[in-house]
Symmetry: C2
DNA sequence: TTGAAAGCGCTAACAC
DNA sequence: GTGTTAGCGCTTTCAA
């Protein structure tokens, strides 16, 4: 039984191939000029020893790491799970490993996890949800940590997100065409406040552009059962004939709630989601939704991040708005009665 | 504008508080005996400088990292997304950061990502899906990398998974009670081969225990449209009146396919999934499923891993089987006709 | 109770 | 082409 007491180091390789550490380094990195036969000897030694470069040591000396951090609110939300998956893929295409932290939408956890990522010396940070206070953001900026927000927005950092104005415009136009005049927006507690507010606002503006009456009362939020009760009542009294939600996850829960309360979708009420997750495409769900271009969000986000990492440039922040599309499915239909 | 040219180091703190680096180190780590007033001075300096220990340097000198690697096949699969989320939480409770790699079920990618994680010097590895060849596993073992399989199984490494014998036993007993005699097992191409095989085998054994005829032909796999066509035909000819699948994801696609082909679920055919994801709990889906205890899988998996990391003990590998439960919902019903 | 020194494994000048 | 040297920021003996 030959149990290696420790990982072989560059030193071991150098000794075995009878060259200096620098030469081994040049070979592994593929730089500098190394004589073919020397290279072969080194490669041979690497193979027999099973040598693997120690990224920790390299990171220390290079003062940077090949790791990026991704902060997400809720991995159990299909939209974010997919986005994270795509970003990890993009990052690994660029030779980077990804550290992922789930915050459960909890500001304290978020701050702590970002701190941990910075201690680990991540080269950059992608925030897919940012619940926390601006202080954390200000600190990241002050320290010059390359940061990008994806499907999320802040004026002070690079951001790429979908154009919500267009998205809600499409949704409202679609519903108006179906005869709806009373359209309500529903959000939930998990969604980060900034996104919740901006989507609510985009919805309101779209409603006003169509000269529809805004539905009275404060916009309902799906936290516990209570707001849903209010929603069910509103639908019952025909105060609202259509619902647009802050995301697909909420939309599905709204449909669940409405149906269990005896309201038919889309018979009594139409529901439009936001995200365009695969989930909504199931025929049993068949959710009309404002679809975010996930691949492009991930690609552009990683692009922005690496550009920032590689250029080392300070702000100004760059912002990109991508155009969403409306996927019409079975959860929206003509207004009845 | 006061842009710090670089992160403050332990040296800066030492200089400002007029002590040695060692003392600062003792303070940050909370070890050794430091005079209260010295400690205060150091803490003060840390605060004014905004000093954050460099984990990369610490990892290098300590020859270990506070990072674990998690390898998953498909983050877009709700079951794995949830499991990953839970494991990340458990790891961060233990002060560890998590590197997550998605392999898309691709053996080459898997090997490459594991390699990258090892270069990063992860303290341990959790494999939630292992498609690859045993060579990789053998190498991990030979190098003494702490490794655990979660919801996945290999004799040579620590594993925690659900007892499939019990799971399929419950499913088949349930279906038999409903009058079903011809029950087929369907898997898909994304599922790792070992899991696919062991679940198929567990299904077959359960069928035999009930003295049911095994349904003829090779077990169908949901890869392209073709096997589903075979399944639709089997259902049409009443060769099969019930389907048990390798996971919920497959179950849902099977239901989609059957319904779009005009078969009713559970009227013409009952469907039972495996995983017990939240998805199946939606009333529109209402999937009967063999539920895996996710929280416990995650907790036990992380426990096994940290035990292995901290003890530094070599094998033998330890194995745990958790007991699944059957969640009966609307996709299974009495056999008709 | 504190400090000096050695070194983790690697890269990057700069000699030779 | 190849080797020598000097660290990266930190922990860890071991003296003082």
């Amino acid at each position: 039984m030959n149990v290696p007491s420790r990982r072989p180091t560059i030193h071991d390789v150098a000794a075995l191939s009878r060259v200096s550490k620098s030469t081994v380094s040049n070979v592994t990195r593929g730089v500098g000029t190394v004589a073919p036969e020397t290279r072969d000897r080194v490669l041979e030694a690497i193979r027999t020893l099973g040598y693997r470069p120690n990224a920790v040591a390299r990171n220390l000396v290079q003062q940077r790491t090949s790791v990026i951090g991704v902060v997400v609110g809720d991995l159990a939300n299909a939209f974010y799970a997919e986005l994270v998956k795509l970003m990890e893929k993009e990052a690994s295409l660029r030779g980077h490993t990804t550290m992922i932290c789930n915050t459960d939408g909890h500001p304290d956890l978020e701050a702590a996890r970002i701190e941990a990522l910075l201690e680990q010396g991540v080269g950059g940070l992608a925030l897919l949800e940012f619940t926390g206070d601006r202080a954390v953001l200000a600190q990241l900026l002050a320290e010059g940590v390359p940061t990008v927000m994806v499907s999320c927005w802040a004026d002070v950092v690079d951001s790429v997100a979908v154009d919500e104005e267009v998205g809600y415009g499409l949704a409202i136009a679609h519903l108006v065409e179906l005869g709806h005049r009373r359209i309500i927006h529903v959000s939930d507690a998990m969604t980060e406040p900034a996104t919740r507010r901006s989507r609510q606002a985009a919805h309101d503006r779209a409603v006003r552009r169509h000269r529809l009456a805004t539905v009275g009362g404060p916009p309902p939020r799906l936290e516990e059962d209570e707001p849903l009760a209010g929603l069910v009542q509103a639908v019952g009294e025909a105060t609202a004939t259509a619902v647009v939600t802050v995301n697909d996850f909420t939309a599905i829960r709204v449909i669940e709630g409405l149906e269990s309360a005896g309201r038919r979708v889309p018979g009594d009420v139409s529901v439009v989601g936001f995200d365009g997750t695969a989930l909504g495409g199931l025929s049993r769900i068949s959710l009309t939704s404002i679809a975010q271009p996930r691949e492009e969000l991930a690609r552009r986000g990683v692009e922005l991040l690496f550009d920032r990492i590689e250029s080392g440039q300070p702000p100004p922040a760059r912002h990109q708005r991508l155009t969403p599309t409306l996927i019409v499915r079975g959860s929206s239909g003509p207004v009845e009665g």
